[in-house]
């Protein structure tokens, strides 16, 4: 059996605007990350697994055959994973928008509208992305917290444990990050 269904293939399709692939990639990463976070942070009952092998196992899955990235510790790993979730979503939004503007309406009509979410996966997402870039330039620590909380859906407590900081300081970073982003996005 070949490795053609590797997550990297899904990633490529998602970045090219395939909504089903996006859903697949995000749910895979999401569940993987959350299962990992739970297993790492809530104590082990599996007794045979240690944190290192968990991180390693998921890292293989996440990166597929591209093993070039290295992680100093689990905090870096989760931050990286959150950041890659952001980049997939943003690429998807960018492609979708390009199609809309290019008049490829039939394709667009096939993509289900996310009417539930407070942010639409098009202009809204791209302006959030630009604002996050500005935040990363001004205060990279805050941008990382936004990625981990908003894009990876980790709780403040989980982020605190993973980054080895206090929950209170994560909450403060989150509050300030939102203010920064709101301010930038409402200026635009």
């Amino acid at each position: 059996m070949t490795d053609t269904a590797d997550i990297t293939v899904w990633l490529d399709s998602a970045r090219n605007g395939d909504r089903a692939a996006l859903d697949h990639v995000l749910s895979t990463l999401y569940h993987e990350l959350h299962a990992m976070a739970r297993r790492q942070l809530c104590g082990q009952y599996g007794h045979t697994l240690d944190a290192t092998s968990l991180v390693h196992e998921s890292y293989l899955k996440l990166l597929g055959s591209n093993r070039s990235a290295r992680f100093e510790d689990r905090g870096h790993f989760f931050a990286y994973a959150a950041s890659s979730m952001r980049s997939v979503v943003v690429d998807y939004a960018r492609n979708r928008l390009a199609r809309k503007r290019g008049g490829d309406l039939k394709r667009v009509a096939e993509i289900p509208e996310d009417v539930e979410g407070p942010l639409r996966l098009d202009e809204d997402m791209l302006s959030l992305n630009d604002a996050l870039d500005k935040l990363a330039a001004a205060d990279p620590r805050l941008a990382r917290v936004v990625e981990m909380r908003y894009f990876a859906g980790l709780s403040e407590l989980e982020i605190a444990e993973l980054l080895q900081r206090s929950e209170r300081s994560i909450r403060r970073d989150w509050q300030k990050a939102r203010l920064f982003l709101l301010s930038v996005m409402s200026d635009a």
Partner: protein, 376 residues
């Protein structure tokens, strides 16, 4: 907002956000005299937050509803979590039908991970399990999708311990550990006779019941060798869920499944049973390096590892001694080159049986539960 300005605002925000709303106003008044140029902006920022209280509050992806003990899934009531992997959780659950209740192991696929219309991951495991009825594999009782779109498998519940823990708990000697391991080999051989490769053998999936019989669990990434149907791409490659320390190098590389994948994994289990530690210690900090360890570096022989284990006074070590012949049998199962391994689980079994037969008889296992601890 330029970075420089943000660095002036940021510490002031830290202080302001500590305060209750009415105190914030008072503090802003105070700041106005000191830093008039920043105060308006701070006030505007705080006002923005109040206007957009829900901004980004909900994560892009919603957390899947976490099941709790007591929840119902179809006609099953969850009792407690038995295990959890990247793709599923397994619960001890009670099947409630009329006055009859029975305990089952209920495997819940994490919702959203796969298309719940088809749930290929569960279909895959259900199809594998439907290929054989073996005493060493818990029976599949029901596969279904609950009302909330939650796919599940209900399996016969088997109470027991992972094989390595069972050996430690009962302080098994080297010989007893080998005999127990031979039971696991028999179970895996039976799978292979049905052309099924398990591909995720590890102590947690090789259970020993209180009665001392071996049970194999978790066929989520098992493969069928005759290719009668293609294993679903989702369950296999996209969500490769093998456990790295037990996966054969060719499996890590994503090569075609084969019975020698299981020979390798059983070799790791045997190593752990006899030496008290895993063949490779994955170090922290450098994942790429440990990847290399699995694919390239040689491991200490089980007897050397056992010596170290005893030096560390770990209680997981078996009583009894390992010798070069036994080392060779274990290391042959762990050959990185698949063709250099025991060709089948059966030939691994044979080698171990021959080895035991060649040993001077001490206490026949049926006369004594434990061998005397050898000195030193």
């Amino acid at each position: 907002m330029d970075p420089e300005r943000w660095h002036r605002l940021s510490p002031l925000l830290d202080a302001l956000l500590e305060l209750a709303p009415d105190q914030q106003l008072a503090e802003l008044q105070r700041l106005r005299s000191q830093q008039p140029d920043l105060t308006d902006e701070l006030g505007a920022l705080l006002a923005l937050e109040q206007e957009h209280a829900s901004f980004l509050q909900r994560p892009l992806l919603q957390a899947a509803a976490q099941q709790q003990p007591g929840d119902r899934v179809d006609s099953y009531r969850l009792q407690h979590l038995l295990g959890e992997g990247g793709m599923s959780t397994v619960w001890l659950a009670t099947h409630e039908a009329g006055t009859n209740t029975r305990q089952v192991a209920l495997k819940l696929l994490l919702p959203g991970l796969v298309d719940t219309q088809r749930s290929p991951g569960l279909d895959h495991e259900a199809l594998i399990l439907s290929r054989f009825a073996l005493a060493c594999v818990p029976r599949l009782l029901q596969a279904g999708i609950a009302a909330e779109g939650q796919p599940y498998l209900a399996l016969e519940y088997v109470a027991g311990l992972p094989i390595t823990e069972h050996a430690v708990r009962h302080a098994l000697s080297v010989e007893q550990r080998i005999r127990l391991f031979l039971q696991a080999c028999t179970a895996v051989s039976q799978l292979h006779e049905h052309r099924v490769v398990h591909r995720d053998l590890k102590p947690a999936n090789v259970l020993v019941t209180d009665e001392g019989s071996v049970c194999l669990l978790d066929f989520g990434i098992a493969a069928v060798l005759d290719g009668s149907w293609p294993p679903p791409a989702h369950a296999d490659a996209a969500v490769r869920s093998f456990t790295l320390q037990y996966a054969a190098p060719e499996q890590v590389r994503g090569e075609a499944p084969s019975v020698v994948n299981d020979v390798y994994a059983l070799g790791v289990v045997l190593y752990e049973l006899l030496a008290g530690s895993k063949p490779y210690r994955l170090r922290r900090r450098s994942d790429a390096e440990s990847d290399q360890a699995l694919l390239a570096v040689d491991m200490p022989t089980p007897s050397i590892a056992l010596q170290r284990c005893r030096q560390d006074a770990l209680e997981v070590a078996p009583s009894g001694e390992l010798d070069a012949e036994l080392d060779a049998i274990v290391l042959k199962a762990l050959e990185k080159e698949p063709a250099a391994r025991h060709a089948s689980v059966q030939s691994l079994s044979l080698a171990l049986t021959d080895y035991l037969d060649s040993q001077p008889s001490q206490n026949p296992p049926h006369l004594s539960g434990r061998l005397p601890r050898s000195p030193g």
